[in-house]
């Protein structure tokens, strides 16, 4: 069983297999189950992601009215104008935000690694797929690669905002997506690790400060940040840019930063954006009470 990214990459290089394959083999061993079973369970998750994006692109709104409809706005803008950041990038952003709009509206999603950060992995997957034209199997492998990196983070640091801030959620999710994009684009396991490190490095210190304690503001747009950064980092790694700080050490830094974060900035809805005049006003409007 791999415990670190270094071990994960070593296994992949030694056996000359993909990161996704390392994860699949480990899962089969741990659960004492067949490849077919493991694949079919992951395919169900893929279907949930696909359905959530479809639902989002038809337009959803949360009960509070704080979020919803932005995924549709972005898609419309892409059709009518020429986006400065390019169609693939904006498609990913729109689908990532859309997934979280569905989540905020209490729709069905697949947590990757959490619900608040559920947009980054599927958002990028369903955008890069239009350029890379993967097989269905490669799309499922994208999720195993994401999962392999998330597995290391979860066991060595944390993946919840309450424990480590948004860097642990959207930071991990965006980084997981970067690593998976690299594999799908034909990069090496080490390039996946570099892409992961580059994204997470740029998410370090991000606090979890949801307005009114709801997974809406700023969570939906943080998924836009996570998914766009994921694509940029993947491109950097594929271009041959490496991370000066090794992946596992970046995860260690994320852990120590999270440990130093006060509880007001870890999903209590007490600090940061939640504690702005508008944030407090929104909470009062929604719950009829003051912070």
């Amino acid at each position: 069983m791999f415990r670190t990214v270094e071990e994960l990459v070593k296994i992949a290089e030694k056996e000359n297999i993909l990161i996704s394959e390392v994860m699949i083999r480990q899962e089969m061993e741990v659960k004492e189950t067949s490849r077919k079973e493991v694949f079919s369970q992951m395919e169900k998750n893929l279907e949930v992601m696909e359905n959530a994006i479809e639902e989002a692109l038809e337009g959803v709104n949360s009960v509070t009215g704080l979020t919803g409809g932005d995924a549709v706005l972005v898609q419309k803008y892409m059709k009518e104008k020429t986006p400065l950041s390019g169609n693939l990038m904006l498609d990913a952003v729109s689908k990532a935000m859309g997934t979280n709009e569905v989540n905020a509206a209490m729709g069905t999603i697949c947590a990757t690694p959490t619900a608040g950060s559920a947009g980054c992995v599927p958002g990028t997957l369903f955008a890069v797929k239009n350029q890379l034209n993967p097989t269905r199997e490669q799309m499922i492998r994208f999720l195993f690669t994401s999962g392999a990196f998330g597995f290391v983070v979860a066991n060595n640091a944390f993946i919840s905002g309450a424990a480590g801030g948004c860097q642990a959620e959207v930071g991990s999710a965006g980084a997981m997506a970067s690593a998976a994009i690299v594999e799908m684009a034909g990069g090496t396991p080490q390039q996946s690790a570099d892409a992961f490190a580059i994204t997470l490095k740029n998410m370090l210190g991000l606090v979890c400060d949801p307005v009114a304690g709801l997974v809406e503001v700023p969570c939906v747009k943080r998924n836009a940040a996570g998914s766009s950064l994921a694509i940029v980092s993947a491109d950097l790694a594929l271009a041959g840019v490496t991370s000066r700080i090794p992946c596992d050490e970046v995860i260690g830094a994320m852990y120590r930063i999270g440990k130093q974060m006060p509880s007001s900035l870890r999903e209590t809805g007490e600090g940061g954006l939640a504690d702005t005049p508008t944030g407090r006003l929104l909470k009062e409007k929604i719950f009829g009470m003051t912070v």
Partner: protein, 220 residues
Amino acid sequence: MKYNSVFDIIGPVMIGPSSSHTAGAARIGKAARHLLGEEPAWAKIYLYESFAKTYKGHGTDFALAGGLLGFETDDPRMSKALEIAKEKNITIEFIEDTAAADHPNTARLCIGNDHHSIELTGISIGGGKVEITELNGFQLRLSGNHPAILIMHNDRFGAIASVTKILAKNEINIGHMEVNRKDIGKDALMVIEVDQNVDDAIMNELERADHINQIAKIVS
């Protein structure tokens, strides 16, 4: 290792909005229902730290209720769980406790009906994964990576042997086991982590064994 499966990371499939506060809460509620062995008639739920501060926004309240009703994390009835519990005459009370807790997402559930009740503390550690840390005043140390059987029994000689004999007969291997008691001859708890899943027939056999009061299993 707290997480041992890729599906802890890519998953669960769930009703939004929060994996810790909604999906995890539902799983804690469901574990409590399992340990009670039936649907509760009442529940007093104490919430701590992030759970206490944000439970309304995250739907932690309906998720815990959904779990008590036996709902899975992706049950479409989840957001209506409080109403459904009300229709079934289940009274659920939420108490925001200001005491410090070891984990930011902690819930203590006291649930019961006419004949018995249990008290359980659960923590939601991220991505929908939960751990049960206390049952009826006994501290638990469950890794959560293997199926576990929890057995409330009387502190009498032979109680442990009667359980292990049944497991041996059914070729179930014990990976980790702890026995705790409140006092000599009083309530005691066996926590057994096993390598294989334990089916209902074996659970029934265990329940009928000598000096066993209550039994439940937690599937990893």
